[in-house]
Subunit: 167 residues, 3 copies
Amino acid sequence: MDLEKKIQYLYDRAAIQDTITMYSIGQDTHQGDDRNVLEQWRSVFTPDASVDFTVFGIAQCSYQQLAGHLRGDENQKGKMNEAFSKWQHLLGLPKITIQGDEATSRTDLWASHNGHTIKGMPQYSVYAAGVFHDNLIRTDDGWRIKFRRLEMHFTDTVHTVSADRVL
Amino acid sequence: MDLEKKIQYLYDRAAIQDTITMYSIGQDTHQGDDRNVLEQWRSVFTPDASVDFTVFGIAQCSYQQLAGHLRGDENQKGKMNEAFSKWQHLLGLPKITIQGDEATSRTDLWASHNGHTIKGMPQYSVYAAGVFHDNLIRTDDGWRIKFRRLEMHFTDTVHTVSADRVL
Amino acid sequence: MDLEKKIQYLYDRAAIQDTITMYSIGQDTHQGDDRNVLEQWRSVFTPDASVDFTVFGIAQCSYQQLAGHLRGDENQKGKMNEAFSKWQHLLGLPKITIQGDEATSRTDLWASHNGHTIKGMPQYSVYAAGVFHDNLIRTDDGWRIKFRRLEMHFTDTVHTVSADRVL
């Protein structure tokens, strides 16, 4: 590969990583009943992108519909804010492969969630170990995901206890 | 952006990531009562850098004072080694924005801590899901954090049990 | 550093990160009794690479022997599939240092494992917080690990409960 191509490869790779990261930033900037993940996701997905989150019981749908399934609307809560009050979508190292104006990526996800406090019930958190498998394309506005599939290794529900001292 | 600027951008970005990573390496190279985090942090922060860890009940202070609050001194333990014996400060993908000689960064943190074993008490660990928000500047010695704010999504305390078999 | 050297440095750094990432992809692509981690690990290690996983009670050995210790063979299970059914080897930000055709790297690991379900026994998971310390060399086929040492901060075993609702 000549130097110019190496630079373009590295620059594309950094841009793709940022697109993938912005998905998590969208999730985590908007906690609890703040539903506005599309604020970030508009710069993550192509307008017609679809997502496969069937491991969560969500049939393949558009990314806008995914936002609705997870976060709800003005009338009802979504899967996330119905069960959880806080969360984090931490990403491991992505493995990115670029071919011209298309790319694929595989990124580990450690998603942790704080369950709502329910009187008389033990407190709990849910830790989910999964992988995002993405197909991306180069657009005039930058790299965008056109298809995302979530693979899930496992989901752990653990009881938590109140701590007198926190780190 | 021309090729030369792209190279500089990518090189700066890599250097900034390393600066952020070195904070965690400082924390995790020095476990338990080994307090010498400044060995690494001197190359992480500007000499006059300040940090906002008010989510831990630490008023905004210098990075040197933060080291004292967390690790203590020869007379008393700090918040970390008082409660915990081992820890890890694992970082997710950073979102870095560079403008000339200044930069901002947002990096997910999964900080896990092993509580001290106390006779007659259940063993526990604390898992903290947070974000580092950094302002950095380019110095003659490389990129340095001049202000760091820790945002915390939640902190889980969980009981752990002894295992006959380890991974 | 001149521009050409910067490009080569960044390109090498990206390649080294991918080599390290491929180790985890090998582990996680092959879950449970699927033992074929060498499918990926052949492009991770030099043919004569050795690994130090003594923190798991595995004496220093070749990477091929490590695969056997962890995954077993046609006659018996290995340490991983004997105890666990699912796992994830999520990696934090690597700190990579390159000198010519050699490199060293330090990468945080958050390895989570789902224990087998055993009738009458509580369900459990094991979370391991560690660090991979790698020595790499440039080969005709790309960067390869010639020596890997696993450092372990701690290993938590936690009970998990069944969840009516998943994220």
